[in-house]
Symmetry: D2
Amino acid sequence: MSSTFGTVFRVSTFGESHCKGVGAIVDGCPPRLPLTEADIQPQLDRRRPGQSSVSTPRQESDTVTILSGTENGITLGTPIGLFVPNQDQRPGDYKEMSNIPRPSHADYTYQMKYGIRASSGGGRSSARETIGRVAAGAIAEKWLRLNHSVEIVAWVSAVGALEAPEIDASAISRADVDATIIRCPHAETAARMIDAVKAAREAGDSLGGIVTCVCRNVPPGLGEPVFDKLEAKLAHAMLSLPATKGFEIGSGFAGVRMPGSAHNDPFIRKGDRLGTRTNYSGGIQGGISNGEPILFRVAFKPPATISKPQATADFNGREAVLEAKGRHDPCVVNRAIPIVEAMAALVLMDAALIQRTRA
Amino acid sequence: MSSTFGTVFRVSTFGESHCKGVGAIVDGCPPRLPLTEADIQPQLDRRRPGQSSVSTPRQESDTVTILSGTENGITLGTPIGLFVPNQDQRPGDYKEMSNIPRPSHADYTYQMKYGIRASSGGGRSSARETIGRVAAGAIAEKWLRLNHSVEIVAWVSAVGALEAPEIDASAISRADVDATIIRCPHAETAARMIDAVKAAREAGDSLGGIVTCVCRNVPPGLGEPVFDKLEAKLAHAMLSLPATKGFEIGSGFAGVRMPGSAHNDPFIRKGDRLGTRTNYSGGIQGGISNGEPILFRVAFKPPATISKPQATADFNGREAVLEAKGRHDPCVVNRAIPIVEAMAALVLMDAALIQRTRA
Amino acid sequence: MSSTFGTVFRVSTFGESHCKGVGAIVDGCPPRLPLTEADIQPQLDRRRPGQSSVSTPRQESDTVTILSGTENGITLGTPIGLFVPNQDQRPGDYKEMSNIPRPSHADYTYQMKYGIRASSGGGRSSARETIGRVAAGAIAEKWLRLNHSVEIVAWVSAVGALEAPEIDASAISRADVDATIIRCPHAETAARMIDAVKAAREAGDSLGGIVTCVCRNVPPGLGEPVFDKLEAKLAHAMLSLPATKGFEIGSGFAGVRMPGSAHNDPFIRKGDRLGTRTNYSGGIQGGISNGEPILFRVAFKPPATISKPQATADFNGREAVLEAKGRHDPCVVNRAIPIVEAMAALVLMDAALIQRTRA
Amino acid sequence: MSSTFGTVFRVSTFGESHCKGVGAIVDGCPPRLPLTEADIQPQLDRRRPGQSSVSTPRQESDTVTILSGTENGITLGTPIGLFVPNQDQRPGDYKEMSNIPRPSHADYTYQMKYGIRASSGGGRSSARETIGRVAAGAIAEKWLRLNHSVEIVAWVSAVGALEAPEIDASAISRADVDATIIRCPHAETAARMIDAVKAAREAGDSLGGIVTCVCRNVPPGLGEPVFDKLEAKLAHAMLSLPATKGFEIGSGFAGVRMPGSAHNDPFIRKGDRLGTRTNYSGGIQGGISNGEPILFRVAFKPPATISKPQATADFNGREAVLEAKGRHDPCVVNRAIPIVEAMAALVLMDAALIQRTRA
C-alpha cells in the first residue's frame, strides 16, 4: 500500500523535498474530536530541523494547515487534509550527487525501482516525508489520550557506543526527555552524547543511536492474533522509518538468554484487573495488549549522508569519490523522538478502533 | 486484516488446535506454475512436531492437501486452498489451565479481547497456525526460485546464551542447516545447544534463541518507499510469529555503534550491475532491495509453556500455582526455521509482484 | 482483492468445479455468536442444484462443515473455515468445449487473462463458487438478526418478459417466496414463469430474470460517504455475481423520469425517529442508510450455456458450431435468491462493524 | 475504506465545501509518465460549475495544482498530491437548513452516522468532492491512452423522460459530446433537453438523466474473477457518485427479456484476435474484459436540492416547510460526464496494473 498506513484509521502521506510541500490525509478519524492546528504543531516543532546545535542547520518552520475534515475546531468524521509547505530548498546542494549514488542512501535503489529519481536525491526517503506521519500521529495521540488516557513517551537511550542507564518507564514524561537537546533523560549521559555528536559533525561523520518508547494505559485487548499482532504492527511502523535497522519489544534480544521460568511474567492482581509482576512481554502477549506498559526499542543507523569524502562508484560502475554538500544531521535520534511517538500512536489508534469491531 | 497477509499475493490462514484442521487460501498466485503437494510437504516436514529429541513428542504427520487452484499439477491463477487435518489432540492436557491463565501465554489476552477463548488454550496463538504459513510460503518460494533464482536459507545462530560464530551467508544451504537436529550449521556449537535444550527439558524449563536468515538473488527494486519498506514488511512478518521479541536487518542494533563513515556500504561494480563492498545495509536501502543478500535476525523468547510449577494468579486474581501438563517444545528455534523462511518468501513474493505494477 | 470481500468482516472463497471442493474463510466475525452448521445449511439447501424441475438436474447435497473458528457451537472471534466437497463431477461433459470457447461464457477471457483455464470450463466463474458466499452470508445474517433484527428477503420479480406486479416489501417473508419453485411470490405470475422456463429448456434455450431484494430494520448510519457508499458496495456485491447485468436502488432507472419535487422523500416522524413518507431513495441517502427499508433490483441475463447449436468460432478463429452437453440451468434467478440475500448480508455486516469505529 | 479507491492505483480524496479546498493523493502511478497540470485541467473545466445556462451559476475556476510526485513534468512513481482551493463560498446559503434536513439529501444520514455534520450541508456528499476524482482520473486516462490507446467517452443519453436515439459507440468523440451544453450528441434531442432543464429551473424543480459511457481499446484480460469482476468495480465506482440510482452493463435490464440464444455473443475472428459479432456482454465476460468496447449506463436521480417549497419535518420531527436557497444544478448529468469518465479510468487503470501481476 506504499504511502498509506492503517486499516480503519488510515494515513496517506505525500510530498518530497523538491516539491511544493508535504502532507497527509487522515481518514477514519472519529467525529466530534476537538482538533485544531495547535494540537498538531507542538510535535512538528519537536521534529523540525534547526532546533539545536546537534541537528541540521536547515531552517524550516514546518507550519501545518488543516485543509479539511474539521469545522469550528471539531472533527467531522471526514478525511482530515494536512499540509506543510516546503521552504528552505537549495537544489544546488544535490548537483554533485547526480552521477554518484550516495552509499547506503536510496539514490541507487530508487533508480533501480522507478528508472527515475528526484533531483533532490532521496525523494520520498527524505526525512521530510515524516512530517505527515507526525501530524497524523498527533491526532491519534489526542484521541487516545482523551478516550483511554494513553501516554506515549520516547527518549534517546543510546548514541553511538554511549548507552544511558535504565530509565523508569513508568514515570518518564516528555518534559524529562526535552530537558536536553539530545533528548536523553539521563543528564550525564546526555552531556556526553552531545559532545559525541558535535565531534562527529566536526569530523564530517555521523552517529547512530537507539530510541526507547513506552506506551502507558493501553487498554487490554488491542492487536489482532496471527499476522497483525500488535508488536508486528509496531515493528512494521518503526522499520518503516528512515535509517532504522532493528526493533525489539519487552525483553527483546536479551530475552533470548533467559530461561522460560525466569522470563515468564507471573500474573498478580492489580486493582480490579490482572497485571503481571514483571514485564518481559513488553505489554503484549499473543499479539494482544495485556494492559501493562508497552515497551520497545528502535535502532537507528548513523545517517548515510556525511561530508567526509567516500570512495565509491558512480552509476556506471566507475570508481569515484563522493564529497556530499548540504546541511545534514550528524545524528537523527533526537529528532526521531516525535516520529517514533507518532508511529506508535498510529498503530495503537488503528488497533483501538478495530477492537471495537471485535468485541 | 488479522488472518490475511499480503497485498497482491495474499495468504489467509484458519484453524486452531482443537478443531478439524488448519489451512490457508493463497490468492494471487500467478498461473502456470507447476505445483503439487510434493512442492509443499518438505517444508511442512521440517516444521512438524516429533522430528527429533529436542522437540515436542507430539506426533502429527501434517500431510497437506491442495483443495483447489491447480489442475494437472499446474496453477490456474485462482485461489489455492490448502488443508492439513488435526490428529493428535488431547484436550485433557489443557484442563488444568482453564482457570489459571498461563504466564506469558495468550490465554489472558484472548479472554480480554474476545470474552471467550478456545478450551485448548492458545487458539490461534498455537504453533499449529503456522502450518498454513509454511504451506503458502513453499508456493511463494517455488515461484521466486523459478523466476528469480531466489534462495532463502535460515538457521539457528543462538540458543540461550550459546551463540554460533558468524556463518558464511553467501554459501550456506538447507542441507548444511539440517545437518544437526538443532539446525545450527556450526557443528560444535550445535552439539552444545542440543545438550542445553535437553537439560532445559529435564528441568521442566525452556530456552530462547536467535534465527538468522539470508535471501540471495533478490532482484533490485523490490519494496515500497515509506510505509511498506521491504525491511518493514519483513519485520512485520517476523514479529507476527509466535514467541518473537526482536528483529534486526543488516548491521542491526550493533550498527548503532559504528560511525557513518564505516557503516556506509561503498558501491563497486559487480559484473553488469552495481553492488556494494560491505553489506551493513542488509540488502535493502531506502526500503528497496539493492541486489545484495538480504540478511536479518529474529529473536525468539523461551517458550512460555513449561512444566516447572509457577506461582501466578488465576483469572479472579487469586494466587495459584500452575503446573502445565502436555507435550511442549523446550525450545522452538529449530522448528521455526521453515517458518521464518516461509514468511520471508511471502514478503518477497508480494513485493516482486507489486514491483511489476511500479516499473 | 480478487477472492476476498469486505474490510472488517472479510470473506475469502476458494474452489472450482473440478477440484476437491469449495469453501470460504470468514475472518472478523465477532466472538460469542452461537453458530453451527445448522445455521448455514438452510440457505445452501435453497441454493443447491436439483431442487426442482426448473433447475439443473445435477445432484449435489452441498453439505457444509465448519472447519474452525467455533467451539461448543459458539464463535471464538477467529477465522471460520467452511468447506463443501464436490461430488457430481462429469468431466466428460466439458470435452466438447476445449477448443471452442462458449459464447458469453468465461472460457475465452480466462484464457486471455491467465494463459490457462480449468478443463471443466468456467473455473471460478462456475456457480459453485457462490457456495462459499452463501455460507458466509448465513453467518452475517444471523449476527444481523440477533443484533439489529435485520430481515433480508429476495424474490424473483421477472423471468424473461414476464414481470410480477409490485410486491409489498414491508411484509414479504421467505416462506412467501418459497411457496413456488420459481420463487416469485405472485402465484399467478409464478405459474406462467414456470411454464416459460420449461419451454425454454425444451427448446435448449435459457431465460433471464430480475431479483428484487428488501433489507428491513437496517439501522441508520451504515455506509461510508464517498467511495464506499452503501449502495456502491451493494452494487459491487451484486455485479460480482455470475450472469448479472444491472443493479438499481430505490427508484432506479425509472426515477430518472421523475422531477425532483416528486422524487424527494419528505421526512416525517416515525415513532422516536425520523422516517420518510416515500422511499424513492431505497433506504440510503448520501451513501448512508436512513433506517427505511433498503430496496434494490438485480438483472440476470439468460444463462450462456444452452444446448441449442451455436454458430461461433474456435480459439483459432475458425468457424465452428458448438453444441454444449451437460446439465445446466435454463434460468438461474430462483437459485440466485439465497445468493443475493447472502451478498446483501455481507455488505450490511461489514458496514455495521465499520460503523462501530466511526461513531 | 471510505475515501480511498483502488488497490494498486489508489486515489484518496479529501475536502468539503466549507473548508480550504479539495484534493486527492494518487498513489501507485507508474513512474516516467509525462504529467503536468495541463493534462488534468481540461476535465476539471468540463466539470466545473458555471459553464453554461443549464448549470448552477456558482463560479469557481477549480484550478488544480500538482503538489508532489512529479519533477520536470514527469512522474516519479511517488504519490501525486493534487489540490484545488475553494473560492465561492456563501455559508449564509445554508443557514435555513440547519434545523430542517433536506429531503433525499445527506443532512439527516450524516447526522445519524457522525453525530455532527458540516454547516454547509452535505459535507463530503457535496459535488465538490468529485474534483479529486476527476483530477485523478485524468492521470489514469493519460496512462491508459499512452499505453493501450484506451478511449473513454461518456454522454447524456436521457434527461427526464427525453431519451436520445441510440448513438454509435464505436465512433463517438468528446468533441461530439461537447457540441451542445447538455452533452447529448443527438442535436435534436439535446435541444429539447436544454428546454426541459430550463423549464425545470424556472419551476424551482430538477430533472434526472442517464449517462452512457463507452471504453474502447481496453485490452482483454482485465478484471478479477469472483468479487472484483470488472463490471462489479465499475458498478461500485458509478454508484459511489452522488445522485446515482442504477448501473447496467451491455444489455443490462433489457437483456433480461432476451433468450440466451439471442443474447449470447458468438465469436468471430477480428484481425489477429477473437472478437464477438454482437456485444450484449458489454465487453466483459466472466468479470474479465474481452477486448470489445465496454458499454455501460448510469442512472442519475433529479437533484435533491430544489427551490420549490417542500413539506417535510425538522430534526425534531416537527412538520416544517423547507425553501432551499443557494445556487444549484437543476440537472447534473451534463456536468457528470467527466466524472463518469474519470471513475471508469480509475477502474481500468487499477485493473490494468493488477493484471501485470496475474499474467
